[in-house]
């Protein structure tokens, strides 16, 4: 790892990427294997697909710029450890896997309100195209509107448009104090109104969890505000999460409680933990299938055709089914 730019570093990076591009080649079905933490998401890979591993390692960490260049095969745990050494973190979810896997899947951390949405964390992407070429899009700076925004397209694309090789991520400082609180029988909407900037508000139909972060004096003040609406007790961390993810609108969340209190009608989860204000839900059963609007399916189909004319990248996977 280096903390300052040097031509040698960048040149060796290019050699690593070139080797990856060569291993991907330009023919035959291919997929990247990371840690297989979400391997079946979006559909099963077509059998006979050749598997490759993305290159790993931190290329350039610039804490003073709040950016880090990292190869896609690096584990999120290694990334987190490197960032923590300099008092920083990223929006990548704590759930683990590789950096490339996390971006390809597009899942947010449950504390996204505190650390940012995953889709805004990716500043620059370098991927290997279906033709085996290295493509760069976005830029190394924290602000950039140069050209079409392919990094946004790559987040959540399940590697169906290009195979992630190296990315530059936005980082942010770890707050001085982080505190989890829990209370029972508190309307989570009241908790959202009582505190100005929670990093997370979770709700399982009975209990409400709040994560407060920032300067100690501010966290104390927010905690006092919460005390006025319920008896919040300090705890170690968030609850254990059920395995399936749902994406709902924040307005739909109160409806979840109806399902748990009434006899099971099969449409909702029996057990859930919802991220209030965001709409992300962790549930004990999968979300019912959603259908993609036909006009969006048309564009998605054209994108797939334009980026991967022979359908060789991650065959069998479909981002609209993730």
């Amino acid at each position: 790892m280096t903390t300052a730019g040097s031509e040698a570093t960048l040149a060796s990076t290019d050699a690593t990427l070139a080797a990856f591009a060569e291993s991907v080649g330009a023919e035959e079905p291919i997929a990247v294997e990371g840690c297989r933490t979400r391997w079946l998401l979006g559909g099963e890979l077509t059998s006979g697909t050749r598997l490759v591993g993305a290159p790993s390692g931190i290329v350039q960490y610039r804490p003073e710029e709040m950016t880090i260049a990292v190869r896609a095969g690096t584990s999120v745990a290694d990334l987190d450890a490197a960032l923590a050494e300099r008092g920083q973190r990223s929006a990548l979810p704590a759930r683990g896997g590789t950096v490339g896997g996390a971006l390809a899947v597009g899942e947010n951390d449950l504390r996204a309100q505190g650390r940012g949405l995953l889709r805004t964390a990716l500043l620059q992407v370098r991927y290997v195209s279906a033709e085996g070429r290295i493509i760069t899009s976005g830029g190394p700076t924290v602000k950039n509107v140069t050209g079409f925004d392919l990094p946004r397209l790559m987040v959540g694309s399940l590697g169906t448009l290009g195979l992630l090789a190296e990315v530059i991520l936005r980082t942010n400082p770890i707050p001085a104090v982080s505190r989890w609180l829990r209370a029972d029988g508190v309307d989570p909407q009241r908790a959202i109104e009582a505190v100005i900037a929670p990093s997370a508000v979770l709700w399982d139909g009975t209990s409400t969890w709040v994560q407060l972060e920032g300067h100690g004096v501010d966290v104390d003040a927010e905690q006092r505000a919460l005390a006025s609406i319920g008896s919040f007790a300090e705890i170690d961390g968030p609850p254990e999460l059920p395995p399936h993810r749902w994406s709902l609108t924040p307005a739909e969340l109160p409806g979840l409680a109806g399902h748990t209190s009434e006899p099971d009608d099969g449409s909702g989860p029996e057990r859930f933990v919802a991220v209030v204000g965001l709409g992300l839900v962790f549930a004990d059963r999968p979300q019912p299938a959603r259908s993609l609007a036909p006009e969006l399916a048309t564009i998605a189909g054209r994108l797939k055709h334009n980026f991967d004319p022979t359908g060789r990248l991650n065959p069998g996977r479909d981002p609209s089914r993730r």
Binding site: R62, E64, E65, M66, G87, G106, E107, R119, T120, S129, I135, T136, S137, G139, T141, V142, K143, N144, V145, T146, G147, F148, D149, L150, R152, L153, V155, G156, G162, P173, V195, I196, A197, G214, H215, V217, D218, A221, E222, S247, L248, T249, P250, A251, V275, G279, L280, R290, L292, A293, E295, L296, T298, I299, A300, R302, L303, N306, P319, S320
Partner: protein, 500 residues
């Protein structure tokens, strides 16, 4: 060419006011008038001429008929008719763009969205509002203020620019340092696609299904379709704000303070640097209370939920002093704070007193490279015998060098463009990018190859063509000759049968 006068002219045009159109015999115009209303489809020469420009210094294009739709259905009707008549389409907001993104090329129908200016729904409980694209940025924030919320992106043109334009350009502003640019504040977009279909990109749910088409539409400079409704995320106002003004006797010291603050793990809401030429102009213009004897000032703002803001403000003051700040002032009242910001926000207006014209550049460099790149920019301007002023979003490395000139002076524009090209090169060499918030438009197309390979640009075009296979929506922008789906040279010529 002075931006102020252009903006004033465009303001007058915003609602499609003006004398009534004489009867047209063009079947396309007649069909548009049938679909909308005769007085909201304009094809007179004066009107088309005025909308052939935006606020940039670039040569205008050639506008076809100008439409002022009032609903999504009317926008859809325009796009369908354009398809039937094989005509190009260019969406337009307030026309405040500085990169020529709204300049109509290929004699398109111009879809001016300024009459679609309703705030449709505000849902503070769920932190979202649906607005139409013609809503003016500052009007939305003023509307939200009493509810305790705001829309975070605040471009300097926020009194005039529209949210549809903010979406097209992925606009920024001083307060995007901590809160992020437009992309971070848009949940969903209702758009009329180039096919004429209406689609919703993104959604109000946490992780909308499928590819992030919302994300790629934002910042696509009106080339992927026309936005007709926008779901914006509402940001809760922070109760505590501290605003500091730090003075320095060297621009370098102000720039280094900025990167020192970020390196120390403090992320202020805003950090803006202004050099002495700017502060002197501003003082003559509005009297914001800036020290005119300082080589540069840093306007820094921290916001938060409680007394923690004093810790951050103290850290910034200390870092500033360690870099040689000659004075550190904390705004003592809301009035003083508002005045300090008024100075910053009216900086471009203040320039008008110095010279009739300016060219405002927009590049980004790593924060740690701010000081050396600024020194190069002063040297470049000197070499071309031009006056340069710097007022910029230092916190995220977003430079805004202003080249000041009098367009009546012979050959001066050539020098301005030559200096601009060198500024771009200097920024790229420092590890920066072509644009932080103005976009590429027609301004920086030819520089795209300095940042991207042919393969990179080819992939950008693949994205564009997935939305617009016919290459009819705002053709000839962003991508350079050889990588654009359009024949850029041909777009500048007018077919004989059109508009005589």
């Amino acid at each position: 060419m002075g931006a102020v006068s252009v903006v004033d002219r465009l303001k007058a045009l915003r609602d499609g006011r003006g004398r009534s159109d004489k009867a047209s015999s063009d079947p396309f115009v007649l069909a548009l008038q049938d679909a909308l209303a005769a007085d909201r489809v304009r094809s007179d020469g004066a009107h088309r001429s005025l909308l052939s420009h935006d606020a940039s210094v670039f040569e205008g294009g050639n506008s076809g008929p100008v439409c002022y739709p009032e609903s999504t259905a009317e926008v859809q009707a325009i796009v369908r008719l354009a398809n039937e008549h094989d005509r190009n389409v260019v969406p337009r907001g307030a026309g405040t763009g500085l990169a020529g993104g709204a300049i109509p090329l290929g004699v398109p129908v111009v879809v001016a969205l300024t009459r679609m200016n309703r705030i449709v729904e505000i849902d503070t409980a769920n932190r979202v509002a649906w607005v139409e694209p013609g809503v003016v940025n500052l009007d939305l924030t003023k509307h939200l203020q009493p509810l305790g919320f705001h829309f975070a992106p605040d471009p300097s043109s926020q009194q005039v620019c529209t949210l549809g334009g903010n979406v097209a350009n992925n606009s920024g502003g001083p307060h995007c340092l901590a809160y992020g640019v437009t992309n971070a504040h848009i949940l969903a977009l209702e758009v009329v696609l180039p096919s004429g279909e209406v689609a919703t990109l993104g959604g109000l749910d946490a992780e909308p299904q499928g590819l992030d088409l919302r994300g790629v539409f934002i910042g696509s400079e009106g080339t992927l379709g026309i936005v007709t409704r926008i779901a914006v995320r509402l940001t809760r106002n922070r109760p505590e704000v501290r605003t500091l003004l730090l003075s320095f006797d060297e621009v370098r010291a102000a720039a280094n303070t900025v990167s020192g603050v970020i390196a120390a793990g403090v992320v202020p809401a805003a950090m803006e640097v202004m050099d002495q030429r700017i502060t002197q102009a501003v003082e003559n213009y509005v009297g914001a209370g800036y020290p005119t004897d300082a080589a540069a000032v840093l306007l820094a703002e921290v916001d938060g939920i409680g007394p923690g803001v004093d810790i951050d403000a103290g850290a910034i003051a200390e870092i500033g002093r360690s870099h040689g700040a000659t004075d550190v002032r904390l705004a003592g009242s809301e009035e003083e704070r508002a005045l300090l910001w008024k100075g910053r926000k009216t900086a471009f207006g203040a320039i008008a007193q110095i010279a009739p014209d300016y060219y405002l550049h927009d590049t980004v460099v790593p924060r740690s490279a701010l000081a050396p790149v600024l020194e190069r920019i002063y040297a470049i301007a000197d070499a071309h015998e031009l006056l340069v002023m710097n007022v910029f979003h230092a916190g995220d490395g977003n430079l805004h060098p202003l080249l000041i000139f009098d367009g009546r002076e012979e050959g001066v524009l050539d020098r301005v463009h030559a200096a601009g090209a060198e500024i771009i090169t200097a920024s790229l060499e420092a590890g920066g990018v072509l644009s932080g918030e103005h976009g590429i438009g027609v301004e920086k197309q030819k520089f795209m190859s300095a940042m991207f390979t042919d393969d990179d640009l080819d992939h950008q075009n693949r994205l564009r063509q997935a939305f617009d296979p016919g290459c009819r929506t705002n053709p000839g922008k962003v991508l350079p000759v050889g990588h654009s789906c359009a024949d850029i040279a041909a777009l500048r010529s007018i077919p004989k049968e059109m508009w005589g």
